[in-house]
Amino acid sequence: MQKVFGYPRALTSKRTHYCPGCTHGIVHRLVAEAIDDLGIQEQTIGIAPVGCAVLAYEYFDVDFQEAAHGRAPAVATGIKRVHPDAVVFSYQGDGDLASIGTAEIVHAAARGENITVIFINNTVYGMTGGQMAPTTLPGQKTTTSPYGRDTTKVGFPIRVSEMLATLDGPSYIERVSVHDPKHIIKAGRAIRKAFEMQIAGKGFSLVEVLSTCPTNWGLTPIKALERLKEQMIPYYPLGVFRSPEEVAEE
């Protein structure tokens, strides 16, 4: 018998601190697999966010810098300018990237900074206990929208991929989901493609991964996957928003 699925080399053996069923773990694995596939483990430098993935540097077996909340794209820029041949990626949550770090992500994208961003959209601030994020859906209850997100008072969710796609800098932007095996495979492909773009020197690439936070959604992991599929995808359509060769699909 052959091993058809195994543990990626680019992950350390450390157990994660993530809650049971949290899809952060799936995305970690997909990133590690992309690093393995492309054979870039020795030249990759990651940037961990402030968010549930704050300890990412303990889980990936590559060099890492832990950035201040929201500033990962700036940190990545600093690193990439020093080591243009390294593969530099940031891993950021939606509070980190779409709220406090808005200026940093917009400008890294506009600059066409040759880095890869893995963007975890779980419609909530996981680490700090479930506050509203810029991506929180209308009506969604969180600890800082206890009566449900009221768009008349706090406005509408930001569709980051669509917004960044208006810029000339990015080479590749895709939104994917990890709610079932088929989509997980697709997400893995997108992540690998994003790294390939960087390696080819094409500039800024970003993969937005629709993700779950069972704990702060108050759902079981399985119900959380269902919510992702049924409520998030309609608001955040999957697809390629920018690509040198393709047009938007799906």
């Binding site: 052959q2 992950l11 049971p20 773990g25 095996p181 992991p221």
Partner: protein, 66 residues
């Protein structure tokens, strides 16, 4: 003929693998691991090696052989 290899100490008992297994052969154990979780077991021999379980597992608990 295929089978899974489960690293029980890593499992957090989230049951996501159980939900996606087309053969419905995965289930939680009565026992708990050192982390305090009921972990997953392959309960039957009909594994087809589809890797669905491994794909959805956030804790990279499952290896699949075929």
């Amino acid at each position: 003929m295929a089978t899974t290899k489960i690293d029980q100490e890593r499992c957090k008992g989230c049951e996501m693998c159980i939900a996606v297994c087309p053969k419905k052969i995965l289930g939680l154990s009565d026992k708990i691991n050192a982390q305090g979780y009921h972990f997953v077991e392959q309960k039957g021999p009909d594994c087809i090696g589809c890797t669905f379980c491994a794909l959805v597992c956030p804790d990279v608990v499952i290896e699949v052989y075929k």
